[in-house]
């Protein structure tokens, strides 16, 4: 009984929902503020993301007449559940790695696909032409970036001697080698696409698709999507920190520094690039990123078999 309550506490309050949500909203404020600074603007006040969520929760929720009602309402919850599990798992592993936990990198990869899947489901259930174009693009994007992302993790698994446990992987700083750096750069770009940021915000494309996949959502359901994106803004950089930069703990300040570093790189890429077309994005991920990773995998295999750890 106590054990079950403790698990519930982990998921709902401390490393899980409330904690990640609050830091995620702060992170989304950082995104907006840094973007504003880049454009010589003042930017929103610190509590702006919280105001937005509170306002959306208090508004009317409209469901389109032709929409597939059940799917439309449940898709945000599916996505939210995926991110919530991912965030809880990652925080648990990085804060208490000595506890026995099946921290499989495969589970994390699966959980990371859930939000995109929920977006596709929700937008195709909303019976809106804009949203369906957005869903089609999101599907292509998922196919585009999943391959290089998985290959990047394969590089790391080879470099750390075939272990699939995140706790073991996060005890090595794998970015300090040629293949590790290549994998890190590609994984960072894939995260950019996963977060739906420029240059890979093709499914949302505000100017042409009018926010595409989220077009028909309003009120509380939109608030859930926003919360999900805010939590992803923490969970995905945290995952990168664990896989490439040697983990979050035990020094918490170093961990926060690494997290902010990745966040700032992502924001700067977001602010200095135009949006690409869907075919350009696919070509970029499948040709250039995959090629770079094939080289990285070869280097990693040579490096581990000859004992040259810098390769």
């Amino acid at each position: 009984m106590i054990d079950a309550l403790l698990h519930l506490f982990w998921i709902l309050i401390f490393p899980g929902f409330v904690f990640t949500l609050v830091i995620g909203l702060v992170a989304s404020w950082v995104v907006r503020k840094v973007s504003a600074k880049v454009q010589y603007r003042v930017g929103p006040p610190f509590l702006q993301p919280f105001y937005d969520i509170m306002k959306l929760l208090g508004k009317e929720t409209l469901v389109p007449k032709d929409a597939q009602r059940t799917l439309f309402m449940s898709a945000p919850l599916i996505g939210m559940a995926g991110v919530l599990l991912l965030a809880t798992m990652l925080w648990r592993i990085s804060l208490a790695p000595e506890r026995l936990f099946v921290g499989d990198i495969i589970v994390a990869i699966y959980l990371m696909v859930l939000p995109s899947l929920a977006l596709i489901l929700g937008s195709s259930a909303s019976a809106s032409p804009h949203a369906s174009v957005g869903a089609a693009r999101e599907m292509k994007m998922v196919m585009g970036y999943e391959l290089p992302l998985v290959l990047a993790f394969v590089v790391i698994v080879i470099k750390t001697g075939g272990t699939l446990s995140l706790a073991a992987i996060s005890s090595n700083v794998t970015v300090l080698s040629i293949s590790g750096f290549l994998a890190f750069a590609v994984a960072l770009l894939c995260m950019q696409a996963k977060l739906g940021f420029v240059p890979f915000d093709i499914p949302e494309a505000e100017t042409e698709l009018a926010s595409g996949v989220l077009m028909e959502y309003s009120g509380a359901l939109l608030a859930i999507w926003q919360m999900m994106q805010a939590m992803m803004l923490i969970a995905l950089p945290l995952f990168l920190v664990m896989v490439f930069l040697g983990g979050f703990g035990p020094n918490v300040w170093a961990g926060i520094g690494k997290l902010v570093l990745i966040l700032v790189i992502i924001i700067l890429i977001k602010n200095t690039n135009p949006r690409v077309r869907i075919d350009q994005a696919m070509k970029f991920f499948w040709q250039y990123c995959t090629l770079a990773l094939v080289v990285a995998i070869a280097l990693a295999i040579i490096g581990t078999s000859t004992g040259l750890s810098w390769l």
């Binding site: 504003a36 006040p45 306002k55 508004k59 309003s218």
Partner: protein
């Protein structure tokens, strides 16, 4: 709602002057994001509609459709002399009547705020938005 009004821009046959002034709001000089205002692409996300133009016969049914799609509570801002009271196009053959009358027929409880001018300055729009939201 007072702290984060998201706006959706509807042009109902304006000459584009008011629209350009609305875009001016988002430039670094005025930067309405510091007040929490965000331009959104879908009326379903909006809290406020920025309506410009006289409301032509072609545009009026679309405006009402957009108004029905906006989750309530929402505020309708009529930007510019044309939207406030048809301006120099009074009694024109292509107008469908002043926008506020038609909106009141559609929804008697519609919250309507007026920002007159031809075109109104961005400062005037900010002041209008602040005044309207502080009375809510």
């Amino acid at each position: 709602m007072k702290k984060s009004p998201w706006v959706f821009h509807v042009n109902t046959g304006a000459c584009n002057n008011c629209d350009i002034e609305i875009v001016d709001l988002l430039t670094p000089r005025c930067d309405v994001e510091r007040l929490g205002v965000k331009l959104v692409g879908s009326p379903r996300h909006a809290d406020a509609l920025l309506v410009t133009g006289i409301g032509t016969r072609q545009a009026m049914p679309r405006l009402l459709e957009v108004y029905r799609q906006t989750p309530k509570p929402c505020v309708v801002f009529l930007i510019g002399a044309c939207a406030c009271g048809t301006g120099i196009f009074k009694d024109a053959y292509h107008g469908a009547g002043p926008i506020d009358n038609v909106l009141k027929q559609e929804d008697p409880n519609a919250i309507i705020a007026y920002v007159p001018g031809c075109p109104p300055k961005p400062e005037a729009m900010i002041s209008g938005v602040v005044k309207a939201l502080s009375t809510l």
